[in-house]
Symmetry: C2
Subunit: 340 residues, 2 copies
């Protein structure tokens, strides 16, 4: 059966210099292979677009090996089993996979997690109940450790990580301050019940942030960097914790910013305020925390305690533009491509 | 009795711009006051010179309130009770105090710790068995947490903090790499049994450090900053811990260094390698760890497992030059002034 199927793929044609452009991609259509023993053939339903993928397009040192030229662009997917050569899987099963930017993929059965189609919407497995939601949960609980009454700040706060950070912080009894790009996003943060919401484009961001954090900031969940970080640093309290899971503002940067060199000043703040800066990738905590996350977060989502936004684009061909838009902050919520 | 005594003091006359000079100090001689109820009159025997004092001479934001113009320069002292108006203290007792740069001081009894004159040499209460030794112990055990076989690096490694860091790391089963300024200091590190020792003035510090850390660096105890940190950062392993207790290289800096701005690059390394940077002041850990420290460290010193160097200057008038020398790294070991 699978021999008659054709697979549309988007592959890496060149390493982007700055923002990815159309010439960095190559589209092709190839025959769909049959699954070998222990594998399944999957049809992609939803493709997740995530900032870390920009890092893997470069060959600079990173926490994950770079893609090779010619590789299908990577990405998590919600996929449906078309043909199974693996025990425990049958056609029609819906799974969380890592199929990438293509319509079909063949995967080893042990790499898949079966999703319950009668539970939360399937797309949530890529967002609030998936890697982004777990990044928020693990970074807050394992590193940020907000205490009741403390102030937690987060940027890209309508994004899938940021919106979960703020709302989980409130579940834990902390005050949530969200920073996002544009008034329409700030409005959504207010709807979500953030205790304060700011537009990072406001010219006096530092002063505005000071107004809404009268007791300083105890946890800053860093996923952006850049000028939000510049505004946050002076507001951090003694013993503040800074989980660092991303620096989206600099992912397209092609050179270091002009001086002066403020790296020593940053270390000085770490010393003076007894700060904790801790980088992390969610997979570090998955073995010990993912099960608790899935149980707790599913409960919070089902009860409406934690809300989420999704930004769904139609068709695989929309992925390159949607990806650049997400890196620019043009998206609202979790960026997903509906592939089939 | 005390009314006939005269007290030579060194006070802050002006906030230093860069390296402190003689015009930043004012020497005077005043009558020694009598102790009020609950106080004791102390004669300073040994005065400790420590890098943090440079920070307190400035009015820039710091972890401790700045000194005021006219204040006696601060510093820990080993002092002898001359006259007591406090229960539990009698003339002749030797105490750890915070008398500062003067020959006599009057202190509240509850701020003092009585020293055993028959134990370790009294000067050790200012160094290996005092605040510097405890800084090393607490930073390593509470933040650095070296595991057996891991590599611990430290700069200013013949200094009172650095030499304790390296030797405690070895007690814990880790490999100790010491960095210090000048061949004579490197020689001392070898005598102390550091697994590797480097001169930070070597032009190819990064390459030399790579040679002696073939398995990377798991804990870097940061008390210097500057170009040692630049050489260390690329050698840090995933999940490395960086206790930050000082940045001596920049204490006399009067402006930010030229660009490019590498602060974002530093955050990038934190993210990529899942680093922990944690500033701390030893007093954070004193309530929970000081007693254990004193017991363990005294044992290590008495058994010769932990060795130390002291650099003792004669007379209170030697303090200003000795202080500048210490900030320049001209000292070898713990800088102490023998006042009387």
């Amino acid at each position: 059966m699978s021999t008659r199927l054709r697979n549309h793929r988007i592959r890496l044609a060149a390493r982007p210099h700055g923002e990815p452009t159309s010439t960095d991609y190559q589209h092709d259509v190839v025959d769909v292979p049959s699954p070998a023993d222990g594998q399944v053939l999957l049809r992609t339903r939803y493709l997740s677009l995530d900032p870390y993928v920009r890092g893997r397009m470069s060959d600079a040192e990173s926490y994950a090996a770079p893609m090779e030229i010619g590789d299908v662009i990577v990405g998590a997917t919600v996929s449906e089993v078309v043909e199974s050569a693996a025990e425990g899987f049958t056609a029609g099963d819906v799974v969380l996979s890592y199929g990438g930017w293509q319509e079909y993929s063949v995967e080893a059965a042990e790499s898949l997690r079966v999703l319950n189609p009668d539970g939360a919407p399937l797309t949530t497995a890529l967002g609030v109940l998936g890697m982004p939601g777990f990044t928020a949960y693990a970074g807050l609980l394992a590193i940020g450790r907000p205490q009741p009454g403390e102030t937690v700040a987060v940027a890209a706060a309508t994004g899938p990580v940021g919106s979960a950070v703020g709302q989980i912080a409130q579940v834990l009894g902390a005050r949530a301050v969200g920073i996002a790009g544009g008034e329409h996003k700030v409005e959504r943060l207010r709807e979500f019940g953030f205790d304060a919401a700011l537009d990072h484009r406001t010219p006096d961001l530092g002063a505005r942030l000071a107004e809404v954090t009268p007791d300083g900031i105890d946890v800053y969940f860093e996923n952006v960097g850049g000028r939000v970080w510049d505004a946050v640093l002076p507001r951090l309290n003694e013993f503040a914790r800074v989980p660092v899971c991303g620096l989206a503002a600099s992912y397209n940067a092609t050179s270091l910013p002009d001086g002066p060199d403020r790296s020593g000043q940053l270390m000085g703040a770490v010393l003076r305020k007894s700060l904790t800066l801790r980088g992390f990738i969610q997979r570090e905590f998955a073995p010990t925390m993912f099960e608790d996350f899935l149980r707790e977060m599913t409960g919070w989502v089902e009860s409406g305690r934690v809300r989420y936004i999704e930004d769904i684009h139609e068709g695989l061909d929309s992925a390159p533009d949607a990806f650049v838009g997400m890196l620019r902050g043009a998206n609202l919520g979790k960026t997903i491509v509906q592939v089939s």
